[in-house]
């Protein structure tokens, strides 16, 4: 057998391998369509609403609410924020609801926060508003949580209140707590008006 004949045999042998490899690619290349992404409901927790409910301590039927709401999550449409309007010189029992409305049914995140109370604490910072906010609930260790609070209003004023939820696994401390510990889960700001 000449060198050329040898080579020819090698070449034909190899042609088969080449074709096999090409087929391998062809078989796997049929799908021309990317996989359809999961529906947004399958995403991890996505807080879309923080709702404050104020109940007048002197009149249980006098209830008002104020919501911070961003239905489409971060980005997209800007969040809508209600103003808080409270009467002067009164005490309100306030509850905070935290919701993920992208889930079906709507996920109540505040329940989860309550379950993990010893890892969470709400903080309230205010500017120019005559309102004193005190904790009305606590975790198993007796440290403040903040899902329930008492808001004691003073004279007429207008300002801002920020509601901040800190995730503090292992770092939560006794009252009044440490706003700088842990990482932020919620940081929303409301305009507040106190009038007669």
């Amino acid at each position: 057998m000449t060198e050329i004949q040898k080579l020819y045999r090698i070449t034909t042998g190899f042609k088969k391998i080449f074709i096999a490899l090409l087929l391998m690619l062809a078989l796997t290349s049929c799908r021309k369509q990317p996989q359809i992404p999961q529906a947004l409901v399958n995403e991890p927790e996505n807080i879309t609403k923080v709702k404050l409910t104020f109940t007048d301590s002197a009149n249980a039927s006098s209830i008002s609410t104020a919501s911070w709401s961003d239905a489409d999550g971060a980005g997209g449409n800007a969040p809508t924020v209600d103003n808080i309007t409270l009467s002067a010189n009164k005490t309100y029992f306030t509850t905070i609801e935290v919701l993920d409305e992208t889930k079906n049914p709507v996920a109540n995140v505040s329940d989860e926060i309550f379950k993990e109370a010893e890892k969470h604490q709400f903080f309230f910072t205010k500017s120019n508003a005559n309102v004193a906010i005190t904790y009305a609930d606590a975790d198993v260790k007796g440290n403040p949580l903040g899902l329930k609070t008492k808001w004691k209003t003073g004279s007429n004023s207008t300002g801002n209140v920020s509601v901040i939820l800190k995730h503090q696994p292992g770092t939560k401390v006794a009252a009044p707590g440490d706003i700088n510990a842990g990482s932020t889960d919620i940081d929303v700001s409301f305009q507040i008006t106190i009038n007669n």
């Binding site: 391998i17 490899l21 021309k32 947004l40 971060a74 997209g76």
Partner: protein, 765 residues
């Protein structure tokens, strides 16, 4: 090395021949080219006796201790027809052997082919073995840092990406055993998923002159090459051990290779690596959750004949990487608090463990590759390479989701799966009259999907490329011309904010071309390249839309981005005297039209976590220019001083401002002592300047101050029987200097690593 073996062989033969009588005759002669009468360095063997000689540079040879009588001898040289003849010993006259250049002879010819180094891109810089050991047990990028012009971009101590001339991620191609590594390489916190222990060669091709490897490589190409299967001739292997004081961890890697003497075509290699490190130390405190675990293996089997071969290679890379707990920030306030503290909060530091907690990354990358090739007499070498790689990246947030039900509670918040298939067909034509070159086709198909948080969409991408490179050598000149053309089609399926689907399709045509000229004049080499390369926008640049938790920004992509066009020019001056002075200077300028970058935009995005500064992907014209210089002085026979300097200016030409996050100027001073008994001592002082080329009010924290880091390495190589042992003992950051690296995003939260003593042992058998 081969000479040594030969000397040994001759010595052995000499010993065995000594016993015979009248065997003190010499066979002397000269080998010349039959056409040009040029002296040749050929191999002369005597049949029936294991005796051989190689001619010296003037063509003459001498084989001693031959017994009287007639001997058959064979003279061979790659590229020449083998000559067999008879000589009567003792000789009457010195013999002159004339060898005929061979063109037709297949067997001789293919030997030439095998010997011929694969055509390499001009300007390829390969790491020396000692520098390669720096990468081992650490990361590929760490090792490459010793090349002037290469720096790193890190996210903490475990995620380190290489940067070439200020560019990284999608602007660099990484070739793992010849296959384009495809991970989620768009992210700055996504490091190349490659085990440094598989590399026997780690090289960088700087600049846009690597058309051979694919589009997008506007900054350069990194080549990670394992030992060639064809080099396996016996049972052999390697055991590597490495220990590190910082993180109290280590790595071990074993390679076993086998080739049976009876079935020489069959070559097998297995390799495995284990690596584990605990929490790392800065000079003053320990960083919680900064450990790493790695389990990797590769296997290769090949049927390698002279004229054809097939081989299969598979690699599997698994790593779990902890991210410093204090680096998780919920929002801008958290980030600003972190800057305000010179030391991270006490709960984030001081606890040593090997356990890795959230936040973390778990990465798997596996590759299957089949390579087939054959040589033909007239046409050259043809090869076909198919590869299938799967990259899975899971990212875990600092906290488990509160509302998830138990079975999914430990799931990652973000998981990407990327499948890439590539097919390359390459024809390397026979070298003739100074010309060598290749033509090739590349095909690629990619499918990306995610689960968890919506950050980048699912997509399928198909691309095809065609390239041709021709290399011409004549005398002192070398010329390289290369061109490629790529077409890319991509279909995206994304979830819109209102849960509906949209399916945009993208088409990109990306041409690249390069011209390189090399001029060798005695001790001076001048290399010059001009190249152009296009890069299609990456998926994140088009579609990212969300909070980037690492740096508390809201990033938005732009579907209408065009491809980047880079025009690269560089010139290298190399002076090699080998005795006293060796120097290399590289000047480069990279003009990039439609350079894609993140620009701060207003307004800030208001989220439930507060306001985030917005950064949008925009395009501008940019120029990245600079110089890399290396000067080596051999003061004494055993003492060498090397200084390397890198300077880079990166300008946004449209807005006449600086481009952020570019490596600062760096000066690397090294002293190398060659001590007796194969001991080498190397000390280095690397001075990194403060990055002053930044814009005001863009970064959260000012660029860190300048710092100098000292390191040293003692290495010794010796043999115990047939085992070659290389041992290195060294220390990085000897003086426990407190510093923060501008190119490490964790500089916002903590100091960089402190002293790290390492011991590395490599046994080759």
């Amino acid at each position: 090395m081969k000479y040594r073996l030969l000397q040994l062989l001759i010595f052995v033969v000499f010993i065995s021949a000594k016993a015979q009588t009248n065997c003190n005759n010499a066979f002397v002669g000269k080998v010349l080219d039959s056409e040009t009468s040029k002296a040749l360095e050929a191999i002369i063997t005597i049949e029936g006796i294991a005796n051989a000689a190689i001619t010296s540079s003037n063509g003459s040879f001498k084989i001693d201790n031959l017994c009287a009588g007639t001997h058959n001898y064979i003279v061979s040289l790659l590229g020449y027809e083998t000559q067999k003849s008879v000589v009567a010993i003792p000789q009457a006259d010195k013999l002159v052997i004339k060898l005929k250049p061979s063109i037709q002879n297949l067997s001789t010819f293919t030997k030439v082919e095998h010997k011929r180094e694969e055509m390499e891109a001009l300007g390829k810089v390969t790491l020396k073995e000692i520098e390669l050991t720096k990468a081992q047990g650490a990361s590929i990028a760490e090792g490459l840092k010793s090349i002037a012009g290469v720096s790193t971009l890190s996210t903490g101590n475990n995620v380190i990406k290489p940067v070439i001339h200020g560019m990284h991620s999608n602007r660099i191609l990484v070739l793992n055993n010849g296959i384009r590594q495809e991970g989620q390489n768009w992210g700055s916190e996504h490091a190349p998923e490659i085990d440094p222990y598989i590399a026997t060669n780690l090289s960088v091709i700087k600049g846009a002159n690597a058309v051979r490897y694919g589009s997008d490589a506007i900054a350069g190409v990194i080549l990670v090459e394992p030992k060639k299967l064809s080099e396996i001739n016996d049972l052999g292997g390697e055991v590597n051990l490495a220990g590190f004081s910082n993180g109290l961890g280590g790595a071990t890697s074993t390679i076993i290779e086998y080739c049976n003497k009876k079935v020489t075509a069959l070559k097998v290699r297995l390799q495995g690596t284990l690596r584990e490190l605990g929490n790392a130390n800065t000079p003053n405190y320990l960083l919680n959750n900064t450990g790493a675990k790695e389990k990797n293996y590769t296997a290769a089997v090949g049927w390698i004949k002279e004229n054809y071969g097939v081989d299969y290679f598979t690699s599997n890379f698994n790593s779990e990487i902890g991210l410093f707990t204090g680096s998780h920030v919920g929002n801008l306030t958290d980030l600003e608090n972190a800057f305000a503290n010179s030391t991270p909060r006490s709960e984030y530091i001081g606890k040593f463990t090997y356990n890795i907690d959230r936040p973390k990354q778990v990465i798997n990358h596996n590759l299957h590759k089949v390579n087939a090739y054959f040589y033909t007499v007239y046409a050259g070498k043809f090869s076909l390479v198919y590869a299938n790689q799967n990259n899975t990246r899971s990212e875990y947030d600092a906290h488990r989701p509160r509302n998830a039900y138990e079975p999914v509670k430990n799931n990652p918040e973000l998981k990407f799966s990327l499948n890439t298939q590539t097919l390359d067909f390459i024809w390397e034509h026979n070298p003739a009259k100074g010309f060598s070159g290749s033509i090739g086709v590349n095909g690629m198909m990619q499918n990306n999907s995610y689960t968890g948080r919506n950050l980048i969409p699912n997509f399928i991408m198909q691309s095809g490329g065609l390239f041709a490179i021709e290399h011409y050598v004549k005398g002192k000149f070398e010329l390289e011309l290369g061109a490629r053309y790529d077409k890319r089609w991509m279909r995206v399926i994304k979830r819109n904010k209102n849960n509906t689907l949209s399916q945009p399709t993208f088409n990109y045509n990306v041409p690249s071309a390069t011209i390189g000229v090399v001029y060798n004049y005695q001790k001076i080499i001048i290399k010059s390249y001009v190249g152009t390369a296009f890069r299609a926008p990456a998926i994140n640049e088009l579609f990212i839309n969300g909070v980037h938790h690492g740096n508390a920004t809201f990033e938005t992509g732009d579907e209408n981005l065009k491809a980047e066009k880079a025009y690269n020019a560089s010139v290298n001056f190399i002076y090699n005297s080998n005795s006293f002075l060796n120097a290399e200077l590289e000047l480069y300028s990279n003009y990039i039209r439609d350079y894609i970058y993140l620009q701060p935009t207003k307004p800030a995005v208001l989220t439930v976590l507060g306001a985030f500064p917005t950064f949008s992907f925009k395009q501008t014209n940019a120029r990245l220019s600079g110089l890399d210089a290396t000067i080596s002085l051999k003061f004494l026979k055993n003492l060498q001083y090397t200084i390397k300097a890198s300077v880079l200016y990166a300008r946004n030409l449209s807005s006449n401002s600086w481009i952020e996050l570019m490596p600062p100027n760096r000066l690397d001073n090294g002293l190398k002592f060659n001590l007796p008994k194969n001991v080498v001592l190397e000390t280095n002082a690397v001075y990194t300047m403060r990055q002053t080329r930044t814009n005001t009010n863009v970064d959260y924290a000012a660029a860190p101050n300048a710092y100098t880091l000292f390191s040293c390495n003692f290495s010794k190589t010796f043999n115990i029987k047939k085992t070659k042992i290389a041992a290195v003992v060294g220390c990085n950051n000897i003086f426990n200097t407190v510093y923060r690296d501008y190119m490490n995003s964790f500089r916002y939260y903590a100091d960089d690593l402190g002293r790290n003593i390492h011991i590395k042992i490599k046994l080759t058998f």
